[in-house]
């Protein structure tokens, strides 16, 4: 609070120095106290939350490798037996192979089908472009249940359900639009003058793609492919609906086991969860590594 000051009567050009009468500056005690309280409580809250997150992750891992763990702080011993048992009992290797086949195939198909579209979206302006972009966004903003159930009923009626083809094809529903959005920034950042140059040198559309566009976006495609791959590795709802006993992805298999799991020892189930966690972590780190690598290469 500062009192209103009367207009200074003096007519001097130089500023009036009245420093001596100035009130000393003072901190607000209440403000200091509040700020201190806010900081302390934030730290407590954050550390608590992170302890839980880390504790949870650690608990799964320890439990999967623990011999006996009941009410003590740490397991009494460590073993890979549960892990091996889970791996054998549920044919994890087999399901892992199936998952990789499905996801890899679907990733490649998604990329191939979406690239031409991405090119048009990045280079051409046309009336319904915004609407089209909106449309491509729908499959991953709408709840997947809305299309998953009718797709399942259709697939069962035409015999695509419980087949590898069926599982690959349903992955495209999210795969194609997802790869459109993930590739778009890479293609948009390409310099169109390179294409004009190529065309002026007589390159056909096909040659243009093959020789000019594709080589430039290889780093982008690699990074995108890993992200699409992770996304599909996690596809759940629709796979659960159309999977058969022998054509399941890893996460659906794990889920099915967990769902009816009254009899299994928890260590076994945690080992199973771990088999799902390891590839996910691996691919996430790979994605981070590739994107930092490509950014370096592009000089960003």
């Amino acid at each position: 609070m500062r009192a209103e000051k009367p207009i200074i009567e003096e007519e001097t050009e130089t500023p009036v120095v009245k420093g001596k009468h100035q009130k000393p500056l003072r901190n607000s005690k209440k403000g200091k106290l509040l700020q201190g309280g806010y900081k302390t409580s934030s730290w407590v809250l954050i550390l608590l939350f992170l302890t839980i997150v880390l504790g949870m992750t650690l608990a799964v891992i320890l439990s999967a490798f623990g011999e006996e763990w009941y009410g003590t702080i740490f397991p009494e011993g460590y073993t890979v037996e549960w892990f091996v048992n889970a791996w054998q009992a549920y044919e994890v290797g087999e399901y892992f192979k199936i998952t990789m086949e499905i996801v890899l195939t679907a990733t490649v198909i998604s990329l191939v089908l979406s690239l031409p579209t991405v090119y048009i979206l990045a280079r051409r302006d046309f009336p319904f472009k915004q609407a089209l972009l909106g449309f491509f966004q729908m499959p991953f903003t709408l709840p997947d249940l809305l299309y998953a159930i009718p797709v399942a009923s259709i697939f069962y009626s035409i015999g695509l359900a419980e087949t590898m083809t069926g599982l690959i094809v349903v992955n495209l529903i999210v795969g194609i639009p997802f790869s459109v959005f993930i590739l778009l920034p890479y293609v948009e950042s390409l310099d169109p003058r390179l294409e004009y140059a190529a065309q002026s040198l007589g390159a056909s559309k096909f040659k243009l793609f093959q020789r000019v566009i594709i080589p430039q976006i290889v780093p982008g495609i690699t990074a995108s492919a890993i992200n699409i791959f992770i996304r599909m590795f996690n596809t759940f709802t629709i796979i659960l609906l159309i999977s058969g006993p022998k054509t399941q992805t890893l996460n659906v298999m794990v889920f099915s086991v967990l769902q009816g799991s009254g009899s299994q020892p928890p260590a076994m189930l945690n080992s199973l969860a771990l088999t799902l966690m390891i590839p996910l972590l691996f691919f996430s780190f790979l994605s981070l590594w590739v994107s930092s690598f490509t950014q370096k290469r592009l000089g960003k």
């Binding site: 089908l113 979406s114 048009i120 972590l281």
Partner: protein
């Protein structure tokens, strides 16, 4: 000139490889699914019986409030936690990156693993309960898994990760000089937050909140693995799957899905009605 137009038109054929599969696998099923909700299994006659069944049978209509009772409080708490954490570490705070990374980390693991992790940590003999008993806060283990709380905790962990992953970038896009300016003009930390930071980030925060809420309304594996899908965590998707996979009644399953979609739209409408009453725009200054 003619040729130019011709090649341009032909260019649009390049849209087909992506559009065709989507029309077949997404648009057609979506429409068919909608029509199916007005039909009985095995019949093509139009009827409202599915919806009538849904809204008169407690087995179905209970899912609406059971889902919301689980998800809405969780989403609000998630927003507070995620906002609190990301706000605290915004700017160039030391260790901020690590905190953000650990907070967002569960998102990479996905829901099934987080569900298992919640069980491993919060089960009666898990670290949480043993610690609480050892400290003396609890006398006997508190049941936090295979019920409402189990699902609630799992939702919180994933929801905080999702919201935080979005908020980190949004907070960075607000020019830190704006806060400094407010502070030099005499505003306390709280007033700076209330009058400068919050109005600028508000609309984005609400959008993320809405997205997260919509996502969590579709909760399934969490409700089944750590929850109690028979009663407390009998959400929309649990019922829809029951209809589709146990009763093979795709028509009813779709009806549940449609009701869920409408619920999500309503939630979205409410959040956006709130969002509209404030500054919507960019808070980054040039340079």
């Amino acid at each position: 000139m003619n040729q130019e137009v011709f090649t341009r038109k032909r260019d649009y054929l390049l849209l087909l490889p992506s559009l065709l599969p989507l029309l077949l696998l997404f648009v057609y099923p979506l429409l068919k699914g909608f029509v199916m909700t007005f039909q009985e299994p095995g019949s093509t006659a139009v009827t409202l019986s599915n919806y009538i069944e849904f809204f008169t049978n407690a087995k179905y209509y209970d899912t609406i409030w059971r889902t919301l009772y689980l998800v809405v409080p969780a989403a609000i708490l998630e927003l507070f936690l995620a906002f609190g954490i990301t706000y605290f570490i915004r700017g160039k705070m030391k260790g901020g990156g690590l905190i953000a990374g650990l907070t967002i980390f569960p998102l990479t693991l996905g829901s099934i693993i987080i569900d298992m992790a919640v069980i491993a940590f919060f089960k009666p003999t898990g670290w949480f309960n043993t610690t609480m008993i050892n400290i003396g806060i609890l006398d006997e283990p508190f049941t936090l898994v295979y019920n409402y709380w189990g699902a609630f905790i799992a939702l919180i962990i994933l929801g905080v990760a999702f919201i935080a992953s979005n908020l980190v970038g949004m907070m960075d896009s607000i020019d830190p000089n704006l806060e400094k300016a407010a502070r030099t003009l005499g505003a306390s930390h709280w007033v700076t937050f209330k009058r400068v930071f919050w109005p600028l980030i508000r609309s984005n925060v609400l959008t993320v909140f809405a997205l997260n809420l919509i996502m969590q309304i579709g909760v399934y594996s969490t409700a089944v693995i750590v929850g109690n899908p028979a009663s407390e965590t009998r959400t929309f998707v649990v019922v829809a799957f029951e209809e589709a996979m146990r009763n093979f009644n795709y028509n009813m399953a779709n009806t549940v899905a449609i009701v869920m979609g409408v619920t999500q739209l309503l939630v979205l409408a409410i959040v956006f009605a709130i969002r509209k009453r404030g500054f919507v725009g960019s808070a980054s200054t040039f340079k």
